[in-house]
C-alpha cells in the first residue's frame, strides 16, 4: 500500500515537473530571428531584366554563427512558402530568379539551431519585380550601331551624288573571272558550295550574294554550274538567284533547275556527297563560299586531288587555315561580306564597303589609343588620375 502511494505521488510530481516545460516549448520557439538582422535586409529589383529577378541582400557582418538562416518566399495571396536559400554567415546577397513581374512576393527569414528547431518566419518585406523596357548596359552598343548606320547612309548618299571611292584589290575575288573562264575552256562544270549553314547565317546570305554575279558570268560563258545544298531554304534561294542571273545575262534557256539541288542535312553526309561530285564530275573550278565547320578540309582536300582551281571563303576563323592550305585563293573573313560589292561594283554597295573600312580604322585607333595610355600609365606607376579615368572609360566601352 505504502509503495502504491509513493508510486502515485511520483507520477503526479513528475507530471507537475514536466507539464510546464512542455507548455513553454509549445508557446515559445527555442530560437528566434534577431529583429535587427531583419531590419538590415534590402530587397531591390534587378536592373536590365525581364522582371523575373529580385535581389535580396543584407550588409550586416555576422560570422562564426552556429545557426542556419533560411530565406523563404511566398506570393502575396498564397500560403505556400518556398525556401529560396539557406545560409550561415552575413553579409549575404541572393538573386531570386524565376519570378513574374505581374505578381507581388513576400520574403521571410527563419533561423534554425543545431538541433534543427526552426523559428517562426519573420517578414522581411514584400516586393514586385519590374520588367525593364531597355537594357541600359547595351547603350554603347546601340549608339555604335546607330553611328555605323549613319556612316553607311552618309557614304551611300555621297556615292549616289557621284563621289569616287577607292576599294583595295582582293585577289581571291579578282580570280573568280579567271576561274570561270578556265572551266569554260576545259569544258567542265563549276561547282559552287554555298556553305553548310542555314539561311539565318549571314555568311550564307553573303555567299548567295556572290553566287549572283558568278552565275551571271557562267551563263554568259554557257558553262555548267552545280550548286549542291545542305539546307532546303538555301536551295530555294539559290535556285531563285541563279535563275534571275541567267535571265539577266540573257540566257534563261541555259538554266537547268536540276543543277541546284538538295543533298542531305547531315554534316559529313554532305561533305561525302560534295567530295563524290568533285571526283565524278571533275569540275574545273570549285567555289567554297559560306559557313563551314569540320567538313571544310574534307571538301577542300577532295577538290585539291582532282586538280581543280579552288577559291574558298569563310568567316569561320577555325576553318581558314584548312582553306589556306588546300585552296588556291582564300577569301578571309570580312572579304566574304565585301565580295558582293566588289564584284558588282554597284556604287551603293561600295558605300557600305567603305563604311566597314572607316569603322575598322576607328576600332584600330581606339585599341592603339588604349594601348598607349596603358603604357604611359604603367611607366608612371599608375599615379596619374586622369589617365586612370580615361582607362576606366575605355574599359567600359570595350565591356559594353
Amino acid at each position: 500500500m505504502k509503495n502504491k502511494i509513493f508510486f502515485f505521488i511520483f507520477i503526479i510530481l513528475s507530471f507537475i515537473i514536466t507539464f510546464p516545460q512542455n507548455e513553454t516549448s509549445k508557446d515559445e520557439p527555442v530560437v528566434r530571428v534577431d529583429s535587427t538582422i531583419v531590419k538590415e535586409f534590402q530587397i531591390k529589383d534587378v536592373s536590365n531584366d525581364d522582371g523575373s529577378k529580385l535581389e535580396i541582400s543584407c550588409q550586416k557582418v555576422l560570422e562564426g554563427n552556429n545557426s542556419l538562416f533560411k530565406l523563404y518566399r511566398k506570393e502575396l495571396n498564397d500560403t505556400v512558402f518556398k525556401n529560396v536559400k539557406t545560409f550561415q554567415s552575413f553579409p549575404v546577397k541572393i538573386v531570386d530568379e524565376g519570378l513574374s513581374y505581374q505578381k507581388k512576393y513576400q520574403y521571410y527569414l527563419a533561423v534554425s539551431d543545431s538541433l534543427g528547431n526552426e523559428s517562426e518566419k519573420c517578414l522581411i518585406g514584400d516586393f514586385s519585380p519590374k520588367a525593364d523596357l531597355f537594357k541600359t548596359d547595351k547603350t554603347i552598343l546601340l549608339l555604335m550601331i546607330i553611328i555605323y548606320t549613319m556612316v553607311i547612309i552618309y557614304l551611300v548618299e555621297s556615292v549616289r551624288k557621284g563621289k569616287d571611292l577607292f576599294v583595295r584589290k582582293i585577289s581571291g575575288l579578282d580570280t573568280l573571272d579567271e576561274a570561270v573562264g578556265r572551266a569554260t575552256e576545259m569544258g567542265r562544270p563549276v561547282l559552287y558550295v554555298p556553305g553548310s549553314s542555314s539561311m539565318s547565317d549571314i555568311a550564307t546570305i553573303a555567299s548567295l550574294n556572290i553566287l549572283g554575279p558568278v552565275a551571271k558570268k557562267i551563263a554568259e560563258y554557257e558553262t555548267k554550274l552545280i550548286v549542291p545544298n545542305r539546307d532546303p531554304i538555301v536551295m530555294t534561294v539559290a535556285k531563285e538567284v541563279v535563275k534571275e542571273s541567267y535571265s539577266e545575262a540573257g540566257r534563261p534557256d541555259v538554266y537547268n533547275d536540276n543543277d541546284i539541288f538538295f543533298l542531305t542535312d547531315s554534316q559529313f553526309g554532305y561533305a561525302a556527297a560534295v567530295s563524290g561530285i568533285m571526283t565524278r564530275e571533275k569540275p574545273a573550278t570549285n567555289l567554297l563560299l559560306g559557313m563551314f565547320w569540320a567538313e571544310s578540309l574534307i571538301m577542300a582536300e577532295a577538290g585539291n586531288t582532282t586538280g581543280a582551281i579552288q577559291i574558298a571563303g569563310t568567316d569561320a576563323v577555325t576553318q581558314l587555315p584548312f582553306f589556306i592550305t588546300s585552296c588556291d585563293y582564300t577569301i578571309i573573313g570580312e572579304e566574304l561580306y565585301a565580295a558582293s560589292a566588289y564584284l558588282s561594283r554597284e556604287p551603293l554597295l561600295l558605300g557600305t564597303l567603305k563604311a566597314q573600312d572607316y569603322f575598322k580604322g576607328f576600332i584600330i585607333f581606339i585599341i592603339t589609343f588604349y594601348f598607349v595610355i596603358l603604357l604611359i600609365s604603367w611607366i608612371t606607376g599608375g599615379n596619374l588620375v586622369f589617365l586612370n579615368k580615361i582607362l576606366e572609360i575605355l574599359r567600359f566601352i570595350f565591356k559594353s
Binding site: 525581364d50 550601331i145 534571275e244 559529313f268 574534307i298 576563323v317 570580312e334 557600305t352
Partner: protein, 225 residues
C-alpha cells in the same frame, strides 16, 4: 513585282528592325515576340523539307530515266529514302508505334525504333567514317603547308612543330616548359590574329544586315537591281 520584290523587302526591313529592337528590350513581351519568330522559322523550315524531298526525288528520277553514268546509285538513294520514311511513319521515331507493336508482338514500348536503328547503326557509323578521314587529310594538308619554301613558310613550320610537340607528352619530356610556350603562342600571337579577323567579320555582318534591312542589298532575292 510587288509580291516578288517589294513585299520581301518590306518583310526584311520590318522584321529586321523589330528583331534589332528586341535585342535591346528585356521585357517579357519582347521575349515572346522573339520566340514567336523562332516558331515561325521552325514551321517554315519544316515545309521546306518537302521541297528538299521533291528536289531529291526529281534529280535522281531524272538520272535513272536518262540512264546517266552511275544511275544505279540513284536507285539506292530513292529506295533508302522511301524505306527510311516508311520506317519512320509506321515504326515511330523515338518509341515504337502501336501499329508496329501489333505487327511485331515481341516489340516492347522501350525498344529501339526501326528508324532509330537505321540512325544508330547505319547513319552514325557512316558519318564517323567520313569524319575519321579528316585525320589523313590533315596530315596531307600539313605536309603541303609545312614545306620551308620561304621565310613565312619556315616560320609556320617551326611554330607548328613547337605547338605539335607541346601538345603531346613527349614535348614535356624533352623540355618541361614547352606546354607553357605553346600556351603563350596560342593565347597571344594566335589570339591577336584571330581577333583581328573577328573584328572585321563582325563589322561585315553588321554592314550586310544593315544593307539587307535598308534594301540596299537585294541579290539574295534573285537578280541585282
Amino acid at each position: 513585282m510587288f509580291l516578288r520584290r517589294t513585299l520581301p523587302l518590306l518583310v526584311s526591313a520590318i522584321f529586321g528592325i523589330a528583331l534589332i529592337l528586341q535585342f535591346f528590350v528585356p521585357h517579357p513581351a519582347s521575349k515572346s515576340f522573339y520566340n514567336l519568330m523562332l516558331d515561325w522559322l521552325i514551321i517554315v523550315s519544316a515545309f521546306t523539307y518537302l521541297i528538299a524531298v521533291q528536289s531529291t526525288v526529281e534529280l535522281h528520277f531524272t538520272k535513272i530515266k536518262r540512264k546517266v553514268e552511275g544511275w544505279q546509285y540513284s536507285i539506292i538513294v530513292l529506295v533508302s529514302l522511301f524505306v527510311t520514311a516508311l520506317l519512320g511513319v509506321f515504326g515511330g521515331a523515338f518509341m515504337p508505334t502501336t501499329l508496329w507493336m501489333k505487327i511485331f508482338p515481341s516489340v516492347k514500348p522501350t525498344d529501339t525504333t526501326p528508324l532509330m536503328y537505321t540512325y544508330l547503326y547505319m547513319q552514325m557509323p557512316m558519318q564517323s567514317t567520313i569524319f575519321s578521314l579528316l585525320a589523313f587529310y590533315m596530315a596531307s594538308a600539313a605536309f603541303r603547308s609545312f614545306r620551308a619554301r620561304s621565310f613565312d613558310a619556315t616560320l609556320l613550320l617551326v611554330t607548328a612543330g613547337i605547338v605539335t610537340l607541346g601538345r603531346v607528352p613527349l614535348g614535356e619530356f624533352i623540355y618541361k616548359g614547352l606546354p607553357d610556350v605553346v600556351e603563350w603562342i596560342l593565347k597571344y600571337p594566335n589570339m591577336a590574329a584571330q581577333r583581328g579577323i573577328l573584328i572585321g567579320v563582325q563589322l561585315g555582318i553588321i554592314a550586310t544586315s544593315i544593307k539587307i534591312i535598308l534594301g540596299i542589298e537585294r541579290k539574295y532575292l534573285g537578280g541585282g537591281k
